[in-house]
Amino acid sequence: MAATSTAFAFEVAPAIAILPLASFVIALFAGKYLPKGGALAGIAATGGSLLLSLWIALTVAGGATYNEEIYSLVTTPNSFDLHFGLLLDPLSALMLVIVSLVSFLVHLFSLGYMNDEGERGLPRYYAGLGLFSFSMLAFVFADNLFMSFVFFELVGLCSWLLIGHWYREEAPPSAAKKAFLVTRFGDYFFLVGVVAIFATFGTTLFAGPESFPTLAEEALAGAGGGEAGGGAGELSTFGFGPGTWFTVLGFLVLGGVIGKSAQFPLHTWLPDAMEGPTPVSALIHAATMVAAGVYLVARMYGFYALSPTALAVIAFVGGFTALFAASMAVVKRDIKQVLAYSTISQYGYMMLGLGAGGYVAAVFHLMTHAFFKALLFLGAGAVIIAMHHRQDMWEMGGLKEKLPVTYYAFLAGSLALAGIFPFAGFWSKDEILYEALIHGLNDPLLLGGYLMGLTAIVFTGFYTFRMVLLTFHGEPRTHTARNPHSLGWSVKVPLVVLGVLATVIGLINMTPVAEATGLHIEYLHTWLEHGIPGLTVEHYDEVLETVAGYSAASLSPLLPAVLSLALALAGAGLAWALYSGPDPDHHTERLGDIRTLLMNNYYQDEYQVWIAETFGTGVARLSDRFDQSIVDGAVNGISEVSLLSGDRIRRIQTGIVSNYATLLTLGLVVLLLSVGLAGGWFL
């Protein structure tokens, strides 16, 4: 009986993604005839997805896993097999729940944010949300890298559609274009990576004995014994040693990750993407597009664990991004901009965790972040509704009394973001830093990542509470802030749900407490321990140790935890000291040139636009001129020469019959003479 219900759960699992797809179709074609512009279909679909995901999670909790092909695009004998499949293991089950939950809440919130505000184009909006949920859910349960790429790209399309939702204005279409282009640039490397992995291993399966991480591991194990490159067996490594080649492959896929997860230097699209409707921002940053990159690394962690170089780079880029983005968030005036940079920063932490060998920690942070960032964005959305679509924090203030539900939910999210005990972010961020530290004591690159991550905590605490204080505390600074718009239930319900989650979800993996007390309360760790062989935490730890040569220093987690908490409190305290009064000053003005630099985002946009203009448009103009003048010039030149010579030669035709007769006679004479000379008549 249990077996059949398990099988049945897995049978219906594709519906998790199909339901939002159906809502996409309904909203697109029938949205304008439906009440609420198709919102109800979306809510029903994502609600259904959520229930199914929970069922799958329960089934997986029972120890069952699923790894099957469901739809074959192309089957080619003796060559690569392109198919869609389902990989349901603890990681994907967990992620399915997160994505469908956030997506469901975002749909619900949109009722308040979009419908009640008299928005036009609602069918388009809900169709976009449905397609977005579909793409992301399918991405999550993908069983091979090809399928991941397919839905990774679709996620990009959806972000374009939704960021550019208000297409009648100038800025949103431009931001949408930028988001798509920058992530596409990253996806280029991902595409090369997918094709190269196909060409190398003949498969892109994530799991099973025929999967590419397993094959790579075997190849390396073989190479370790014999001479370099000899052990690669039948794998074609394109002239490189297997270790080097696998690192190259890792980097190629990482390109897509850096683009989608907005890591330095491809993070520039994300702050611009704030042009989209706020619920969309919540969806993009909390659970879908940006999360896709990090999730991909986690999904193929068995492959990355083989390459210490790739891991170290991931960790360093992550740590750097965490610090870099956090510093920019410090000076922003727009509430959504602060959240945007905090998103970049938090994903930096996840990358740091993955790179440092903290697989569980990174997944943990992915989860907690999904909840508290969705909460913060929806909270910001609520504030924006209340403020009649004004987003400058200096125009707010004192909203605490007017919007109590929003305030407490937002506060919970902020405490989680800043990493204050015992909110969710504290546990997960602390675990990442702990992992980075214990592995980093033997590796300077990781240690660098750790130190940057540690520094970023102060910034995080500061900008988070600057945001909270400016928005909710003090005296209202404008008329709008004194008379905010009231909020409906569809806005409040998601905030409450997420607020509760942001508060308590960290308790599922309290590593420091577990270490201190000896209790087995690291539930997430346990959750990720079972599953498909080769995709478990034990396996990753083993590979990290044997292949990548990671070794953990033995260190109590308590001290680092206290350290990071102290730093977070220091940052928060600084913000309190500066901005807690009824009418705070613009303290960041005192930073002078540094503020200008930070406001301009270290001129990242400028140099990237410069590169794009010079090497894109510039080269394009140049080749156009070359094409018009040289290539087409040659073609027209040939025709010119023919015309010109024709024009000259036709002058022989005078129109005077006598001349023709003369020519005729001369021609005959010449002909006779030459025939005669050749024939030797005159000799």
Binding site: T654, I656, V657, S658, A661, T662
Partner: protein, 100 residues
């Protein structure tokens, strides 16, 4: 019996007279007459060789050419009349519009 060479010489001479006429004259009428001379030169050749080899084909051809010449004169004089009507003259160098 006269040797064929003499016929050929006669033919060449008449041909050259005709050619000279075409190259030097401007009047269409002279053109036409010169062309007739050249055609007859060709006829003499044909008849001479026909006589030489005892083959009648050449003589038959000369009859054809005579017929052709008659037709040509008809057309030629027609052209001449049109030329006169259009240019007020029968000078061939005046009618130069038929070019490029």
């Amino acid at each position: 019996m006269v040797a064929v060479q003499f016929y050929l010489l006669l033919s060449a001479a008449i041909f050259c007279i005709g050619l000279f006429g075409i190259l030097t004259r401007r009047n269409v009428l002279f053109f036409l007459m010169s062309v007739e001379l050249m055609l007859n030169a060709a006829n003499i050749n044909l008849v001479a060789f026909s006589f030489q080899y005892g083959n009648l084909t050449g003589q038959v051809f000369s009859l054809f050419i005579t017929a052709l010449a008659a037709a040509e004169v008809a057309v030629g004089i027609g052209i001449m009349l049109v030329l006169y009507r259009n240019f007020g003259d029968v000078d061939v160098t005046k009618a130069t519009t038929l070019r490029w």
